[in-house]
């Protein structure tokens, strides 16, 4: 027991003493070392600063990327919401003039497309036809329908410069039943928004 205590005391003294003992250092070397240390530190600092800077940039870029992605998502959601809120415009068989009962739908679309949420977007009007008749004629018919809607929107204050038109003929049916209701549903113009 006495021996153990003595050994422990001696060990404590040694370690304490070691920690308090100053190393015998060559000053020159120390200077050099300190220079090196300084250079290294600079280098390291530079590296660090570089890394930090890179990290900062990356961080800020990551932050920017995250912001951009957030924005893109927000825009997509806004576009989807606006598109869902637009009214499809329907047409009679073989015709491309805006029907009387569709005027209010076009007007309502114009109001929406000129609203604060929508006015910075470009507009694409897609013209479609039912399956009757040859497709080449139907592509032209779809285009005339889209053009009629573009003209009508312009009369309600939507600038033509914002609007492009395209026709999908009979390639884009919303239903495929062989009845008048389905054919009437396919004879339409639809709206898409582009950022």
């Amino acid at each position: 027991m006495k021996l153990l205590l003595t050994s422990l005391t001696l060990a404590m003294l040694v370690f304490t003493g070691c920690s308090q003992k100053n190393p015998d250092v060559d000053m020159t070397s120390k200077d050099v070392k300190s220079k090196d240390t300084q250079m290294n530190a600079d280098k390291k600092a530079n590296d660090l600063s570089g890394m930090d800077a890179n990290n900062a940039t990356n961080n800020s870029m990551n932050q920017n990327n995250m912001n951009t992605e957030d924005n893109a998502n927000k825009i997509s959601q806004m576009i989807a919401s606006l598109e869902n809120s637009t009214n499809k415009i329907y047409f009679d068989f073989d015709k491309y003039n805006i029907r009387e009962d569709m005027e209010s739908e076009v007007k309502s679309n114009a109001r929406l497309l000129n609203s604060m949420n929508a006015r910075d977007f470009s507009i694409k009007i897609e013209g479609n036809s039912d399956e009757w008749g040859t497709d080449e004629y139907n592509y032209a018919l779809g285009l005339k329908r889209a053009k009629s809607v573009k003209e009508s929107l312009a009369s309600y204050g939507v600038s033509k410069d914002r609007v492009m038109i395209v026709s999908f003929g009979e390639s884009n049916p919303t239903c495929t039943d062989s009845n008048k209701a389905c054919w009437a549903e396919n004879r339409r113009a639809e709206f898409k928004l582009l950022p």
């Binding site: 009757w132 040859t134 080449e136 592509y139 779809g142 003929g169 062989s178 008048k180 054919w183």
Partner: protein, 423 residues
């Protein structure tokens, strides 16, 4: 025997050469009667032999130059006495074939034509084609040559490729090359919306089509051999290549660069674009006529779709059809015009769209179809044969009309809906 048949055909042809708009009323019963025999060795797949036989029978029937015995018969290649005469059937000709495969997959067909009146071999030939799935073209070639041998009017169109686009789902369509029976099919373009394919030349080694997969509808030219494609022109709104001049240098395009669909002529060498029509409504489906100097087309300038013609470079337009309430698709050959027409003022019905033939030299109109929805007529490289799209019972099919025989045939497309065709 063969010379007698040739004489019969010369006489028959001279009767029909007068005017194809005159409907044939008298049934011809002087057509040579032909039977087919499969002399292939037993080790060749039975299914394949029967499919080959079926194409041969179909071709002979569609030619309308033969009275065909439908029955599937086998024989030895040399033939017994009975097999070389088939006296019970009272046939004039026997087409005997033996198909086999070479080690590399090439199909080889030995074909004999026998005079059934004297049991003698009239001619014998060997045909080959490199891939098994191309067997329909091998069969078509055999029949085209047999037809030529007996002096009948050419049916060379049977050997031509057909190119069509088919809708597979909403805003998706593929471009397919096939034979006229749709027994051979090879998809050339898929992915997205690819429409209105058109052969670029008579040798059918390239085609044009419109892609909707970019920012604007774009016309591409594709080489059949290597599938490489080259952009030709784009247009906002819509873009269709409706016709190609006989030397392949000029295209008739329907395009809408300023939101207005008109017909343009495009020179693929000089890249010059010339506007042909200027009406503010719909002008589509331009087709070259009169040595590519005039254009026949569909326009709604009278308030409904109808057929008109205009000389390139001139503004004056001539109405070509004075019948029907909706004539929305047209094809022309020599002085014949075939168009798809809705006669009734009622919009829908099972017999609503039919094909009609007129001549620019007479006042006759001849109705060519009676049932289903019949659209997109296209003359073959002769005035006797018209290809078209038929929709019937929710199915789409490739239709063939043989004018002189007053007969129509349909080949259903099992998957998808035919959008447009060319050959």
């Amino acid at each position: 025997m063969i010379k007698k048949l040739i004489l019969v055909f010369v006489l028959v042809s001279s009767v029909f050469a007068v005017d194809a708009t005159v409907e044939i009323v008298k049934k011809m019963d002087k057509l040579p009667k032909i039977a087919l025999q499969d002399a292939s060795i037993n080790s060749v797949d039975q299914d394949f032999r029967k499919k080959f036989f079926k194409i041969l029978v179909g071709d002979l029937r569609v030619s309308s130059h033969f009275n065909v015995v439908d029955e599937y018969m086998t024989s030895s290649y040399i033939g017994t006495l009975e097999q070389n005469f088939l006296s019970e059937l009272k046939v004039d000709l026997i087409l005997r074939f033996s198909v086999d495969f070479e080690p590399d997959g090439t199909i080889i067909a030995q074909v004999k034509l026998l005079n059934a009146k004297n049991g003698q071999v009239d001619s014998e030939k060997i045909y080959k084609i490199s891939k098994k799935n191309r067997y329909p073209f091998l069969a078509h070639k055999i029949v085209v040559e047999l037809n030529s041998k007996i002096g009948a009017p050419s049916i060379k169109w049977m050997e031509q490729f057909v190119i069509f686009s088919k809708y597979t789902q909403s805003k998706k369509s593929e471009i397919v090359i096939s034979d006229y029976t749709l027994s051979f099919q090879k998809t050339m373009v898929k992915g997205g919306l690819n429409i209105f394919p058109k052969w670029a030349n008579k040798s059918q080694n390239a085609f044009y089509y419109t892609s909707y997969n970019g920012l604007k509808p774009t016309l591409y030219k594709v080489s059949v051999r290597d599938g490489k494609r080259k952009k030709i022109i784009s247009s906002s709104g819509m873009l269709v290549c409706s016709d190609v001049s006989s030397d392949g240098s000029k295209l008739l395009l329907t395009m809408a660069p300023n939101d207005q669909a008109d017909i343009y002529q495009y020179d693929i060498n000089t890249k010059e674009l010339e506007k042909i029509t200027s009406y503010s409504g719909i002008d589509v489906n331009g087709g070259f006529i009169d040595n590519d100097k005039r254009v026949v087309f569909v326009s709604d300038r009278l308030g409904y779709p109808n057929v008109f013609a205009q000389t390139i470079g001139s503004k004056s337009v001539e109405q070509m059809v004075y019948h029907g309430r909706n004539n929305n698709s047209v094809s022309a050959f020599d002085n014949y015009i075939v168009y798809s027409s809705r006669e009734k003022s009622s919009e829908f019905g099972s017999k609503t769209f039919n094909l009609y033939l007129i001549s620019t030299k007479t006042d006759y109109i001849r109705q060519l179809t009676a049932t289903g929805k019949n659209l997109y007529p296209r003359f073959a490289d002769d005035s006797e044969t018209i290809m078209f799209i038929k929709y019937y019972n929710n199915e789409s099919a490739l239709g063939i009309i043989r004018l002189n025989a007053n007969k129509s045939y349909h080949f259903p497309l099992k998957v998808g809906k035919i959008q447009s065709i060319d050959w």
